[in-house]
Subunit: 425 residues, 2 copies
């Protein structure tokens, strides 16, 4: 691939061709070779310390941690931006990650009253309201019910929120880092509701957390009976404390705020609760002063994670462009990438599992001659929906809201490799 | 399901029926309900401390860790069994995990000279021998090549090794815990070899680690050109130090010992290297004194992780039986489970992604009346291969070897719920 390919974004033949290469795992076999030829290199010819001395044994880390050489790879908090760190947010370092699983230790956090520290032996989930039989579940009760495993993205409705008014934050960790993607294990909510017996008049559920903010949201019964999980595990182990240990709602494809953490209560009612988090917050304020409410679904979105402002290009010649795409309405069918600000587009190589309402990884293996690049990615999901430009979104929604910005992101790579968050007309 | 179902393990109709239920997520809708009815419970009616006080903010853990209530969930090392902890092993706590992703901090470790601590800036991979152009790659060189993402199990050839001579170890962590399953990101080895240009006479590669043991193994070129990855990431982030940071071989479906960690050198040759780890070790000593060598592939295997000796049954009535199945030859097609020592079998409910050469999760949602159980699971893979009994294996291989025991495991659950590792004729 090179930046002067005249490729229509809708050139179906080329799309299939790229997919075929990816299937054969040979996508870049024709790239020029850049690896350094063998020559005397003390790192090769001389015995190094790690070759000479015994390393740490198997008894030192019953629970393992990353290499000390990775200690800069962390969630970045912005509690300096908020009134307190207890009701604040930190960000997933997307530019340092690969594949589609977010390591649990690097999943962004957002709390409204700090992390509740709960002994699972003392945790209860109550289901009541418009039900035949109110029920209280212990964690052991829940663990004895049929469970399922699903990989899903969780995106905060405010992800990319500061970008509504133009390029603001210099790094995909900050523009797009309020998203993560893990494998959850939990009990389908419909099974819990079946035990309690939802009355026919029940149309909405109220989900409430056991944290100090008592975070609560209204969930339509239709979604609850569809694919919502009450999860106790993520990436194979118990939920992390900041992700709602010991129990959280998993609401696939919907904004993160409704994935109530430290879940202690589900009340069935005949209308929504008008909770603080769905009236004063998590509504989309339009230009005319009206608000869109209950805009639950996170539409198709994508971002190039490498190169990006925190991960500039360091080498001419061969390079890997990498990114993530996701949709709250299904699977990702295609991602198009441009390197020249939209003059030419090509289908990216999607690699790894393509799962329902999950992050999906894409790549473009390309050669860089040192020219300026204007990089964008544009996702298309299984419903045929195509990710819009920011300007297209602004025309419809104005710039008052901080929520639900799924507009196309632009990175400018300069000849020296430095990369910046920009907007182009 | 109940233990007196008269179900043939090959009853295709029943198998499809169970799969259909799993798809609908309704596998246990007909089970008796056991959740406790709502009644005054101070944990519900009174405000708890975690409701009353602000919790920890987003600024405290740039890299997150499990809840303090989970601190007993760790890898168990057996360095008391070996000459030193530097050449020893610890075990994945399979009975505490769910889904198919093993958290990186709980992936078992096996080293032959301790964990090499390597600065990635000083790491090199050399490819030489029967190649047109010997090459040295830096980590940055490798990260600029086309990469792929795959979830694969890694199983030590010696997993379940002590069980050859009868039930020895009381817990699936110890009998089966030398296996883990993560998503790897890496460059197909065939792309690296294409750069160096393998000569037609090259039939074997020698892979060598940069650790103090200089661990090395011979790999047939045919496998190297098939699906081997040179991986730098696992579960989205850099490899963990004990898993070969910054670079390891991923050899899907093959015994763990050949997944060389801290990979520094690949030499192409015309025959195998007769390395220590493929002559004195990692061969299967038969009853007549001959050894099977280069027995790379890990055949289909399964184990029930719950209940198991470390995770006894605690409640009568509704329960979840859970387990893992895997095959080095493809995907898992079916898992049969018996609760009565083989009189009756039923198809387990497989849940979550079913991926190539990956752990696969299965469940049986069952009611327990308090009777003794003799639990076994039996995996069938996409080649039609069925996991054998231990006795079937012993007839063919004798009991001298400690490697490649994929025999069916039996747990005995007593009326008080305690569970033990047993063998039945």
């Amino acid at each position: 691939m090179s930046s002067d390919h005249k490729t229509s974004p809708l050139d179906r033949r080329r799309f299939l061709g790229a997919a075929g290469l990816a299937g054969a795992g040979l996508a870049a076999a024709s790239l020029p070779l850049r690896a350094q030829e063998a020559k005397p290199d003390p790192l090769i010819t001389e015995v190094q310390d790690w070759n000479r001395y015994l390393g740490e044994g198997v008894d030192k880390r019953p629970y393992g941690t990353p290499s000390p050489f990775e200690k800069h790879i962390v969630r970045r908090d912005v509690s300096w931006l908020t009134a307190s760190p207890d009701s604040s947010v930190n960000f997933t370092p997307l530019h340092e990650l690969d594949g589609i699983i977010t390591p649990s230790g690097l999943c962004f956090e957002r709390h409204h009253g700090g992390i509740a520290e709960i002994d699972p032996a003392n945790h209860r989930l109550m289901i009541h309201g418009l039900v035949d039989k109110p029920l209280v579940f212990t964690m052991e009760d829940i663990r004895r019910m049929p469970r399922q495993n699903h990989v899903h993205f969780l995106e905060c409705a405010a992800n990319s929120g500061m970008e509504w008014r133009g390029a603001q934050l210099n790094g995909c960790q900050f523009t797009h880092g309020m998203v993560h993607n893990v494998m959850y294990t939990g009990v389908p909510l419909r099974l819990l509701l079946a035990e309690a017996g939802l009355k026919p008049t029940a149309k909405w559920l109220m989900l409430e957390g056991a944290d100090s903010s008592g975070m609560n949201r209204s969930l339509p019964v239709e979604k609850a009976l569809d694919d919502v999980l009450i999860a106790f595990a993520m990436n194979g182990e118990a939920l992390r404390p900041e992700q709602g240990y010991p129990l959280r709602a998993v609401v696939p494809g919907w904004e993160g705020n409704i994935w109530v953490k430290w879940l202690r209560r589900i009340e069935a009612g005949d209308k929504s609760w008008q909770a603080r988090e769905e009236t004063s917050k998590y509504t989309d304020l339009l230009a005319d002063g009206r608000s869109r409410r209950y805009t639950f679904i996170m539409d198709a979105k994508s971002v190039v994670t490498n190169p990006s402002p925190q991960a500039p290009l360091k080498h001419k010649g061969r390079n890997v462009l990498s990114g993530l795409a996701w949709s709250g309405r299904g699977t990702i069918k295609r991602v198009d990438v441009t390197l020249d600000g939209g003059k030419n587009w090509q289908a990216a190589r999607i690699d790894g599992p393509v799962l329902e309402k999950s992050l999906t990884r894409f790549y473009v293996d390309f050669d860089w001659a040192g020219q300026e690049l204007l990089i964008q990615s544009r996702a298309m999901d299984s419903t045929g929906y195509v990710q819009p430009t920011k300007d297209e979104l602004r025309k419809v929604r104005g710039v008052n809201s901080i929520y639900h910005n799924n507009g196309i992101q632009t990175w400018q790579v300069r000849p020296n490799g430095e990369t910046e968050n920009v907007e182009i007309a």
